[in-house]
Amino acid sequence: MMYPWIWRHLPGPAWAKVTMLVLAAAIVVLSLFEWVFPWIFEALPYQDQTVGDA
């Protein structure tokens, strides 16, 4: 539903749409890696390697 909708509403020929989608995906993945995931990780209790604060 949403992906076909995006595809229909992007202008230009197919190769231009693909380029735009790849760029958008890259931006989404980078922002996830740089900001969203570190923020989520802070809140999770995994990976403590110290003694005493578990």
Binding site: A14, F33, P45, Q49, T50, V51, A54
Partner: protein, 281 residues
């Protein structure tokens, strides 16, 4: 074939027959199912990306930060893998011919913590030492920074020193923590350390060569492992110990893997490297 000829996925859902045309009119329920499917697929991809990020990308980020931290502290002997001269090849920078690498002469080694320079505990998240572990390769040189706060130290600078435990060379227990996985994973191979292995700590003033004396696996709340005398809280220390703590088992935080060691000798900095850092154990 052009991309145009591929029907966007999602459209297939709700097609009752194999006939490609005319496209059937889809009800609200079908659209809801299609949207749910897309959202689930997206969520799956995001979760997969999270795993990739945690296992690989945090290493990339932290290794960058950690080598930068190591470059900022200047020791008399560079905290970088020195080019071994036996290879002969000019591995030096700018075409310099490599001079024979200086080793600490025996008469400068002090086999007792007595008289060892003990630095004051620095501010949180300050890198003050380098840890060399020959068992993990002669290029294993990692910064040691003050504090065990995850956000400022362990997740960024790597190895963290438990505040208020002894400093390198000091009588007591020099206790440090590091990640077993992710964030540069400085202690990923902690389980490979064996009794007798050298743990070399380099500071601005001295080299401290510790030897592994024991390893143990404990529960996270067993803080006695970092007591001044390991596992004997309340006892006054007489020797300089070192304790490494990390997660156990790998990829879990269920328990802690602990490595204890004792100072074998120390030597003032500025007279070369300890032979131990080149010994392949």
């Amino acid at each position: 074939m052009t991309v145009d000829s591929v029907p966007p996925f999602g459209e297939v859902v709700g097609a009752p027959t194999a006939a490609p045309s005319p496209r059937p009119r889809r009800g609200a329920a079908d659209k809801g199912i299609a949207l749910t499917g897309e959202l689930l697929i997206t969520a799956g991809v995001v979760l997969g990306l999270y795993v990739l990020w945690q296992l690989f990308y945090t290493d990339v980020q932290s290794e960058r930060t950690q080598s930068a931290a190591l470059e900022q502290v200047v020791f008399p002997e560079p905290a970088a893998t020195p080019a071994l001269t036996s290879s002969g090849a000019g591995a030096g920078e700018a075409g310099e011919t490599s001079t024979p690498l200086e080793m600490i002469p025996d008469d400068l080694k002090v086999y007792s913590p007595a008289g060892a320079p003990v630095m004051a505990e620095p501010a949180e998240a300050t890198t003050f030492a380098a840890l060399w572990v020959p068992r993990w390769g002669s290029d294993y040189i990692k910064p040691v920074s003050e504090g065990t706060d995850r956000h400022t130290t362990l997740d960024r600078l790597g190895i963290g020193h438990y505040t208020d435990t002894a400093m390198p060379g000091e009588v007591g227990n020099f206790a440090i923590a590091g990640h077993r996985t992710t964030y540069g994973k400085p202690f990923t191979d902690i389980n490979t350390l064996e009794v007798g292995d050298a743990l070399v700590v380099q500071t601005d003033g001295a080299w401290y060569v510790y030897r592994v004396t024991s390893t143990q696996i404990v529960q996270p709340e067993q803080v006695e492992v970092i007591a001044p005398v390991p596992n004997q809280p309340g006892t006054a220390p007489t020797v300089a110990s070192i304790t490494l703590t990390s997660c156990h088992p790998r990829y879990s935080a269920e328990q802690r893997y602990i490595v204890h060691g004792e100072l074998e000798y120390w030597a003032p900095a500025g007279h070369g490297y300890p032979q131990e850092v080149f010994d392949q154990s």
